[in-house]
């Protein structure tokens, strides 16, 4: 370690949706790396340790090194000429950058979609159809005495969720932490999260909807046949006991994960647990929150919602926003072969989308922004390497409970930020498309 050491207190980790803002970072400014991340979980430590300064060209066109200015020009030309351009990603960048992506989608009359469409998109549909009874994680910490996790494994995916927000943490009305709470876990198998649960319900795979529907019926006082155990794997007596606890708690929280949203039933699964929460509010205070994955995926939902009215899968072909998951979501526009150009920001769909979608992505001009070389930047016509948010750039991200949190920069990067690249593309696209001269915020 060199002598040029900087300590950053109360920095924010942007690895997962917990967005813990109590990091104490030790930064070696000579080596340009974070050597210690106090308070970080195992995932956060890896996040901070692995982000140094890579040795990639700032921009490439057709795989060859190019100036950022030329790459911006090429990207703007591609987007302005496209008839059905799509913008995708956005969950690992700042809200300030996301704003410009929405503006570009508006200018080029294209589609804009985020990684929400392949994780909690179904919850977004369910929020619109059913409604959301919500709370901040601060409220959960201070008030909740009944915590239920459904279709998620926070011990491995969000390691500090238990200790910082929901289970063992001590709050105003939960001074004894875990002792003041009943914790329930619903999953298809015993995961490393199971030991923390007072009650573990092992639901048969693909039967979450039936289980939630059965709980709704019991909450409403309807009779159920004992054969529910053959359907869901959970006995009627267990369900009745659970409903009794739910109705009699002081403040209940239902956290749900992708075990619900990405299994058969999708938005109806999310809708079922949201409706269950609504039903429980006849008896007590109950809220439901999705447990979000990427660091600023919640910010992407918020930015799209406040700018277009919809959280993901938005189309501007007609000059105004339209929302239709399945029609305007990225997997679908690619797999059907609809898109004729793509701007991918802070995401790597070429490594995790269905084969048909990846094949089409390889057949159209792609512009990619990422902090490292990925399969998507490798197939991109224009690729930018950008600075990492929360480490090399400041800005705003949203925690999974829709609370905005400000980032602190740890050390400078030679690479431009997503916001700078997107601002430049936006300016050039605006000139090419003849769009309205919207004043742009000055980028520092």
């Amino acid at each position: 370690m060199g002598d040029n050491i900087k300590i950053i207190e109360n920095a924010t980790c942007t690895f997962c949706g917990c967005v813990c803002d109590d990091m104490h970072l030790t930064v070696d400014l000579d080596e340009k790396k974070i050597t210690k991340a106090k308070n970080a979980c195992v995932l956060g430590r890896a996040w901070f340790a692995q982000h140094g300064i890579p040795d990639y060209p700032q921009a490439t066109i057709g795989g060859k090194e190019a100036s950022v200015e030329d790459a911006v020009e090429e990207a703007a030309q591609i987007l302005a000429e496209a008839k059905f351009p799509i913008i995708y990603g956005l969950s690992d960048t700042t809200c300030e950058a996301q704003r410009h992506a929405v503006a570009i989608a508006d200018l080029i009359h294209g589609c804009i979609d985020t990684t929400t469409s392949v994780c909690h998109g179904p919850s977004g549909i369910a929020f619109q159809g059913v409604g959301e009874s919500t709370a901040t994680l601060g409220e959960v910490k201070n008030r909740a005495d009944f915590i239920m996790y459904w279709g998620g494994n926070p011990a491995e995916s969000h390691p500090r969720h238990f200790t910082r927000y929901a289970v063992t943490t001590k709050g105003l009305y939960t001074p004894n932490g875990k002792k003041d709470r009943t914790v329930v876990l619903v999953d298809v198998r015993k995961t490393p999260s199971a030991p923390v649960a007072d009650i573990f319900l092992s639901v048969k795979p693909g039967r979450d909807f039936e289980l939630a529907w059965a709980l709704r019926a019991l909450v409403k006082g309807r009779k159920l046949d004992p054969s529910i155990e053959q359907v869901t794997g959970v006995s009627l007596a267990t369900l009745e006991d659970l409903v009794d606890r739910m109705k009699n708690c002081r403040y209940g929280v239902l956290f749900f994960g992708m075990g619900l949203t990405m299994t058969r039933g999708r938005h109806f699964n999310s809708g079922a647990v949201l409706a269950l929460t609504t039903d429980l509010n006849e008896f007590t205070h109950f809220v439901a929150k999705p447990v979000r994955g990427h660091g600023n995926v919640t910010g992407a939902d918020n930015v799209l919602s406040w700018q277009t009215g919809y959280p993901f899968g938005v189309n501007f072909s007609r000059g105004f926003p339209r929302f239709n998951p399945g029609e305007f979501t990225t997997v679908d526009t690619l797999a059907r072969g609809d898109a004729d150009a793509a701007l991918i920001i802070a995401s790597d769909p070429a490594s995790n989308f269905p084969r048909k979608a990846i094949e089409h992505l390889g057949a159209i001009p792609v512009i990619a922004l990422d902090t490292k070389q990925t399969q998507t930047t490798n197939l991109a016509r224009v690729a930018f390497i950008t600075a990492t948010y929360g480490i090399n750039t400041a800005g705003t991200v949203y925690r999974m409970d829709d609370v905005p949190i400000t980032l602190r920069k740890a050390f400078d990067s030679p690479y431009p930020t997503d916001e700078e690249i997107l601002t430049a593309i936006r300016r050039r696209v605006q000139a090419l498309c003849g769009g309205p001269a919207v004043p742009l915020r000055k980028v520092s």
């Binding site: 294209g110 019926a217 046949d225 058969r264 109806f268 399945g326 609809d338 004729d340």
Partner: protein, 269 residues
């Protein structure tokens, strides 16, 4: 003189052509039809850029070609007869109130969303969301008939209030979800979780099916009204056999988490 449109240029990206509706074309001559606006991705184009037009000023319109990428055809249609000789893209007959659409091939998602009247006949398969409500809307199909001779996808009749959907083959999951009223006939097998959140209405299948735990078994009987419906479906060309007309059906009532006044009738022989 009837109107014939033949696709001469396949759209590169989705083409939105809500103007292709008989009641709209009936007042226009050949040149007028060719000049109607369509949206090719984000570009304003005309019907003539993609279709050759023959005839004009008639309520019978035939469109020939693979229109799998053409969306929003016959939006708000109020009368006339539209024949699509080939496949058709999504949002066919959006909010239509009258007239008849016949598709000889397959149809995409959202056939007859929020339609209020008229009839849509699809000779092939149809996609998801047949006769459904749009996202954020509580009420789907409000009247009319949708007849599909093949299979249909998920969420058929989502939020349906009135009217009839009849399918010769199988349906996808959540058939009749959140139904307010109306009738759905699936001559093949019902998908999982049919009738979830149903308030009133009738879902019929000519096969046994698993019903949600929030449905309760009522009786096994011969519903008199069903014979009339099934005879009508047979007239429309659906494969209804004699045994189905006079057979007995298991009646499940639900959904108990809602009004509990809906019914699922499953053929019992």
């Amino acid at each position: 003189m009837s109107v014939t449109l033949t696709l001469h240029t396949q759209p590169e990206v989705p083409l939105e052509a809500e103007c292709l509706s008989p009641d709209r074309l009936a007042t226009l001559d050949q040149a007028g039809i060719a000049a109607l606006p369509v949206l090719h991705g984000n570009r304003n184009m005309t019907v003539g850029d993609f279709f050759s037009v023959d005839g004009g000023k008639d309520l019978t319109v035939r469109i020939i070609g693979d229109l799998g990428r053409v969306k929003h055809v016959a939006t708000g249609m109020s009368g006339g007869h539209l024949i699509i000789d080939g496949n058709i893209g999504s949002h066919l007959g959006l909010g239509m109130s009258g007239g008849e659409i016949t598709v000889t091939g397959h149809a995409g998602d959202w056939v007859g969303p929020e339609m209020g009247g008229g009839r849509i006949v699809v000779r092939g398969d149809a996609g998801h969301m047949v006769g459904s409500a749009y996202r954020g809307s509580k009420v789907g199909m409000r009247g009319g008939e949708i007849i599909v001779h093949g299979r249909i996808g998920n969420e058929a009749g989502n939020g349906m209030r009135r009217g009839m959907i009849a399918v010769a083959a199988d349906s996808g999951d959540f058939t009749g979800v959140n139904m307010i009223a109306g009738s759905i006939f699936v001559l093949g097998r019902l998908g999982a979780r049919s009738g979830a959140g149903m308030k009133r209405g009738t879902i019929v299948s000519l096969h046994d099916a698993e019903v949600l735990p929030t449905y309760s078994y009522a009786a096994c009987y011969h519903p008199v009204f069903l014979r009339h419906y099934l005879l009508r479906l047979r007239q429309l060309g659906l494969p209804v056999e004699e045994a189905h007309l006079g057979g007995r059906y298991r009646r499940w009532s639900g959904d108990s988490v809602e009004l509990n006044r809906g019914e699922i009738l499953l053929f019992a022989g």
